[in-house]
């Protein structure tokens, strides 16, 4: 093929277009579909009260647009060079978490996890902390003991320290949901990184003991425990802690097999489920799109996760495998807990549903994560 003479711009454009062609198309389509569905659901759940009816969905579309730009940027990054910058990314995300604790942070819905940027824009550093931790742990665990595929003990220790420190900062907000996601990211990194089984089991035991201790030693307030366990028996207090559980079950259950149709959900219109454009957006899918629609959302999520897994498996580079695998663990856990809490099989924690919920920072972080998966895919797939 004849190259047009001169001009690095043209060469880069060609490189970019070939990069687009080599991206994982299935992953791309699944993310796009989920984003479109999410946009519709945000619209449906906010149209009755948002300024000018479309005020929030417009903001959501803007967020998605920024997210797409960030994805493209992430795709351009060579993950091998990213490995070098991982500590820097991590430290920047830490600065965000620290800023939240200072008077710069704001409280929304009981969690002190926001930094207001003015003009109606806000920033949630803990979302980026997930990305930062993924890269940091992948970097640490990607250099094995020579001749084996097990990480060095020092690196494991460093990893635990880094993870513990990050989780500690998030707990200060307090944000139990994100802390749990960070825990899962750490666990995923240790498992994929090749840490010995007995160590992993030991750590798991330690976590269990810790949870039991927290439970028995009354570290948490009774209301926190009540909120956490309400999902087991929402009828015990349907107006109090069980309200969210009860109402989201009613909304989803009343959708039946085919749903009531977009914009036709009475429970959504009446705003019976709180936070239905963010954490409880799945109830809108359940009510308006029915079983078929909500299973479609689960299936699209499944496609994304399995494509991510495939990327991790096909990658020859330890760092790339770790990044892709851990991102899948993160998204899988967050989706499961989010959907699970709306249908009464998981406790209620403030976690958004990836690609669907309204929320700028989360959208950016998720999109960057997808960008990273694509970047790894482009550079590691066998020709």
């Amino acid at each position: 093929m004849a190259m047009p003479a001169g001009g690095s711009f043209a060469r880069r454009a060609v490189a970019a277009s070939s990069a687009v062609r080599r991206m994982d198309g299935v992953l791309l389509v699944a993310v796009a579909a989920l984003t479109v569905i999410g946009t519709l659901l945000v619209w449906s759940s906010t149209r009755t009260w948002a300024p000018g009816s479309t005020g929030l969905v417009k903001k959501h579309i803007l967020n998605v647009a920024i997210g797409i730009a960030l994805t493209s940027a992430a795709v351009m990054v060579n993950h091998r060079s990213l490995r070098v910058y991982a500590p820097l990314v991590y430290v920047v995300s830490l600065i965000g978490l620290v800023l939240v604790i200072t008077p710069l942070g704001s409280t929304v819905n009981g969690a002190h996890s926001w930094i207001m940027l003015g003009g109606g824009f806000a920033f949630q550093p803990s979302e980026f902390a997930k990305l930062g931790l993924v890269l940091m742990l992948a970097m640490l665990l990607a250099r094995p003991v020579r001749g084996t595929d097990r990480p060095r003990t020092l690196d494991i220790g460093l990893s635990l320290g880094v993870a513990g420190f990050t989780m500690g900062l998030v707990m200060l907000q307090p944000d139990l949901g994100t802390t749990m996601v960070l825990g899962v990211i750490t666990a995923g990194a240790l498992v994929i990184g090749g840490v010995r089984k007995r160590w992993i089991l030991g750590l798991a035991l330690l976590v269990v003991c810790g949870v039991v201790a927290v439970w028995l030693l009354d570290v948490l307030e009774p209301y926190q425990i009540a909120r956490f366990t309400a999902f087991l028996n929402p009828a015990s207090d349907p107006r109090g802690v069980g309200y969210n559980s009860t109402q989201s079950l009613i909304a989803i259950g009343s959708g039946g097999l085919f749903g009531k149709g977009l914009f036709e959900g009475g429970q959504t219109t009446g705003r019976f489920v709180p936070e239905q454009h963010t954490d409880f957006i799945f109830t809108v899918a359940g009510e308006e799109f029915g079983f078929l629609g909500s299973v479609a959302v689960v299936a699209l999520m499944g496609v994304i996760l399995l494509r991510g897994m495939r990327i991790a498996r096909l990658c020859d580079d330890r760092f790339g495998t770790l990044v892709a695998g851990v991102i899948v663990c993160w998204l899988a856990f967050q989706s499961f807990v989010n959907i699970g809490m709306t249908i009464g099989i998981m406790p209620i924690t403030g976690l958004p549903l990836p690609f669907v919920s309204y929320g700028g920072t989360a959208t950016f972080a998720n999109m960057i994560a997808i960008g990273l998966l694509q970047a790894i895919h482009i550079r590691e797939q066998p020709f």
Binding site: D149, G194, L257, F291, A299, L305
Partner: protein
Amino acid sequence: MIRTRTRLVVIQVLVASMLALLAVRLWQVQVVRGAEFVEAATETRTRDVVVPAVRGQILDAAGRPLVRNRTRLVVSVDRTSLNRMEGNGREVLQRLATVLNRKPSELRMRIRACGPGVTRPCWPGSPYQPIPIDDDVTTREALQILERQEEFPGVTAEVQAVREYPGSSAGAQVLGYLQPITQEELERRDGFKAVFSGVDLVGRDGLEAVYDKELRGIPGLRRVQVDRLGKVIGVERQVQPTPGDTLITSIDSKVQAITERALAEAMKSAPTADGAAGVVLDVRTGRVLALASAPTYNPAVWTGGISEPEYQRLLSGKAGKPLVSRAIKGEFAPGSTFKISSVSAMLRDGYPLHGHYDCPGSFMVGSRPFNNFHGIGMGTLTLHTALVKSCDTIFYRAAYEQWLRDGGLRPRGKTKEPMAAMARAFGFGRATGIDLPGESAGRIPDREWKKQLWDVTKTENCRRAKSGYPEVARSSPSRAAFLKQLAYENCLEGYQWRPGDAANFSIGQGDVLVTPLQLAAAYAALVGDGKLRSPRIGWALVRPDGTMVKEIKVPVVGKLPLSQAERTYIRGALSEVASDGTAAGAFSGFPMDKVRVGGKTGTAEVYGKTDTSWFASFAPAERPRFVVVVMVSQGGMGGQTAAPAARKIYEGIYGIAPQDGQDKGKPVRAALPDHRPATQLPMIKRDGTVAR
């Protein structure tokens, strides 16, 4: 890297099973238990609002409204939502009182639930219904409330139809009134449970009660969607209410008004009078043209909740119990008006129609003399003259002879008791069955009745026969002695039907009691076709657009055991009462050549009270179309109080200028231009107006 790959596969399996778990759970929630959640969703998302149907009108025979609806702005308070507030909504009531210019304490009283010890003002209806506290607010007041809903939670202002009475007090007891539905009634009504219905009123008396179901219509239902704060955000389903049927009655509002005015004047003319009743019947059909009772009241007082003093006044004896219709509930001794039954009984018992009968001033019934009125003897009379002049002794004799034939004090076998049997044939002693609630049966005493009464009272009488009446003796020793003697006699032989009982019965005295309506129905049967009818006020039920629902028939409930000739003979005798008999004075100057009025006066003695004044009449005497019965309790002589009132009614019906009083000689327009009752139902046009 092999280990990493293996572990990735493990994670992938884990992820896949988590997703599968979600799908299974979704299937369970949305498909298996879907219906259950649909129901729960409907329950949380919707509220059912009962839309009351517009109640049907009540029209008179010419299509003039007796009761109609008009719209008002009604302010209601929802007590359940007040109770949920701090301090039971005291502040809201305070603000509301300021807007409505009322006392807060008054509002608080009105929303209390009625109950034992809690008297009006209070709320007799369901606690779940908004309680109307002001049913005629101005638009400005309503807007003040509606525009500041945040200051008036639980308070609504809405347009409602309320009852209006164009004739003010005309026919008050006939029309009846509405009251809020009680909790028990609400629960008895299945179908839909009213979550909140502004006015769920039930007819409590009169036509409103009897035709409640038809007048009510079918309430509509509006299922509204609410958000989680209870704010209405849309209507999900709407079933329009079906307005109630219009009840056309045979009442002529003009005749009704004339009758009520005549009663009021009669009460005024007789200073001792404590009540009066008037009945005007259509002889040929048995329909009621007017049914009046005095004293009366304006039924508008019920609209929008009655005040305690007003309610007590209506119930009090001092005001003459205006709620009670004396025409159907008042039981009085009929006096000589009853002789139509007694003379018929004589004929059936073999006394000749054209015979001659002795009318001495006094007749010995057993050992006691029974006197004519004023003790005047009239020589030998035909039955005709006996009725015209109202001779009593002829009836005493006949009653005594019949009593002897039945075995006197020791009856043998089955007794005939012809007078009581005839009275029953005339419909006395049982309710006429008119379409009004709470009608009295009156009383026809006989041997059997006497025995039953004695069984009930003998214990007390025998005790009193011994102990006497010391509490009466303190003020009146002679009365106490009389009562003791009476108790002694009743204890000893109270079961006996004594000759005096039979004699008193024959002239409508003693224990005989009739209602004015019973008397009117009996006279209508006598002067009409001989058939006894159960009078009706309702004539037809039609849809608001005029479509006929059903015509209300007047049932024939009996036939007088008299031949046409006998009936004509008695009617002929009664036709002279107003010209030559006991009512001649009352009808002096009445143009008998134009309209001949027949009738019978009655002056019934009541122990310890002034006589009951009666006049039972009909016109025109030759071919009767109307029966008019007037009764004035404690009104004195029949010819003096009741007959002049009846005359006024005829003057009104026929448009005859009065011969005395302030309107003397003034030409009057006839209430019934054709001098006969309406024979056809008024035409109701499709738009609900009446074709005239």
